[in-house]
Symmetry: C2
Subunit: 362 residues, 2 copies
């Protein structure tokens, strides 16, 4: 029986590739002939370790990470990384530079400060409600790292290229755009991403650490909060979130084998975002909220002429099987999250809905 599926524009948890969901469903009662569900098999079994290791190999291949990089699967989401990063990588007395581009960057700064760490805000776009990515930075002389948020899910902005920080390692929260395009990872000391946007379901955070960063990890941290605990145990110090890791593995397989890698993925993402932005630019009914040079290819934020129309737009879209178009509660407006797994047809359907909604509500 064909199950009815809709177009899911939610910001995360978000749409997953339909073929991945079908594969999970088909082998759910017995994973690879083990007679056990993937939710039941031991994390110390060969069957599970194969999944984990293959996921790592694929992530490294997709991001062109060399042997210096460790790939970890941790719990607690990017929100716990906001604390683990300064705890592990920023010694007391040292300063870290943070670039503030919105809600999540602000939270990352807040958590570093809770730990009593020295934070320098090297740039901020708060003056215009985070509608752009800053172009001028005032880095500290001896910053331990420069922290950025590569894509701002709520504000709808994205770094189109990364700043040159010289010898200072960059750290980036890439929760909402990892795997959406190729980039040069070698200048990053740490990249982290909650899986629930571009990599899989909620419940696992991918943390990529460059070997030299591990020298900074203090000895006296709680075991679970210490990066070396996890690098030394290949993410198997304690029971990992097996099902989430398994789904990430399948999504990475889809990225490599069905999409064909990150270059192809970027092409498709540009095409999808282009459709939406180009359509909005043709009139003045829909207004993109981000500056043109800072627009996100993942989260397209926009306003309608008034809030009443925005409410009506979201409700009618939902009736037309286009879900999740409401903007974040902190900023209002509308937002279409069009992550990797959103098919082109979904964006085309949205654009034609927007067109007819506009005609009927001018």
């Amino acid at each position: 029986m064909q199950v009815k599926r809709i177009y899911n524009f939610n910001p995360g948890p978000a749409v997953l590739p339909e073929s991945v969901l079908q594969e999970i469903q088909s082998e759910f009662m017995s994973f690879k002939g083990t007679g056990m569900s993937i939710t039941e098999i031991s994390h110390r079994s060969k069957a599970f370790e194969d999944v984990l290791n293959d996921a790592i190999v694929r992530i490294k291949r997709l991001l062109k990470l060399d042997d210096r990089f460790h790939v970890l699967f941790l719990q607690g989401g990017a929100s716990l990384q906001f604390s683990m990063i300064p705890m592990n990588l920023l010694a007391d007395g040292q300063t870290a530079d943070y670039i503030n581009t919105g809600t999540w960057a602000t939270k990352a700064i807040k958590e570093a400060k809770i730990l009593g760490k020295k934070v320098h805000v090297a740039a901020s776009s708060e003056d215009r409600n985070f509608a752009y990515i800053p172009k001028q930075f005032q880095f500290s002389q001896d910053a331990a790292y420069v922290h950025i948020t590569s894509n701002n899910t709520i504000k709808g902005t994205q770094w189109s290229s990364f700043p040159n920080t010289g010898n200072i390692p960059m750290i980036s929260d890439m929760s909402s755009d990892i795997m959406s395009r190729p980039f040069n990872a070698s200048s990053f000391g740490c990249i982290y991403a909650g899986a629930q946007k571009n990599m899989g379901p909620a419940g696992v955070c991918i943390v990529i650490l460059r070997e030299d960063m591990l020298k900074r990890v203090p000895t006296n941290l709680p075991s679970m909060l210490k990066y070396t605990t996890h690098t030394e145990n290949n993410s198997l110090y304690n029971t990992p979130p097996c099902f989430s890791i398994y789904t990430v593995y399948l999504v990475m397989k889809w990225l490599e084998e069905t999409i064909g890698g990150l270059e192809k993925m970027e092409e498709l993402n540009q095409k999808k975002a282009g459709l939406l932005y180009d359509f909005m630019e043709k009139g003045d009914f829909y207004r993109s909220t981000a500056d043109k040079d800072s627009r996100s290819l993942m989260n397209v934020t926009f306003r309608l002429p008034n809030e009443e129309l925005e409410k009506k737009f979201v409700a009618e879209a939902k009736k037309n099987d286009l879900d999740g178009l409401k903007g974040h509660r902190s900023v209002g407006g509308c937002r279409a999250s069009i992550y990797n797994a959103m098919p082109l047809a979904g964006v085309e359907t949205l654009v034609s809905f927007m067109e007819s909604f506009q005609k009927q509500n001018r």
Copy 2:
């Protein structure tokens, strides 16, 4: 098509009720008619909040928790709770009492000490390799809490009744026996359990906190490590592990509606464990490692005449579709984990296999 399933005696991740797995599979492509998978729906949607809240209601009803108790779904497993408990509930300078009954209790003590907290070991069964539950305790005058491990997965022991700690709140790691029997929760300030044994898949830890414990939480903790962050946000401060919570909800529903509650569950668990222990007592080929009065109903640990036979036993059992019977790598031997979801037929099959293995290998 009927998929072949085996009997899974793994210690966790572990067997789940087959009807629960079937329900997950059947609605995997479209959760409750939303047109989205449970892995794709927003954690802020009504559909998901209904799941979360129903899981809480069922957990409270099953454990007979009154209004003072909060039920949280956190990430990081019981291993992160080893740190969060002293961080949140044990002020510097105060002492906490820990009863050491094995590997996990030892780890809990270690993590409290890493934080520089004062720990008093009120009892230990280390003298006989943790083969029993202590009966004599030396509690501190003003202990902030008494920490116990209700069931010891690796050593195969379980508290048959809990100590009387008077006004001192008890805290228990119940990862491997929560929901296996009724007990009086009101003397516990905190109960925590990684879900992957008796409640669901890996990736979520259930933390039950009594209201009065929250007064102890310091203000300056990292947000994700602070219990009040999660009690104030109903476990939705950040994206929770949605799929794991959903599965826990289904398992709780199964416990209430199919099994009929914890009294019925305990009856069945006693019957299952009884079959195994009684069979082993009839001869001297299989030797239960735990003292009789301390035996676990969840993890039945045993030895065979020699290690070679143990290896052969585990391998032949696996060939007979009885998986996961190897003891923990730190202790060796054999172990049958027979959590709630292990059907009686599974234990009967195991006993008859043990019988024939014994005949062939005397």
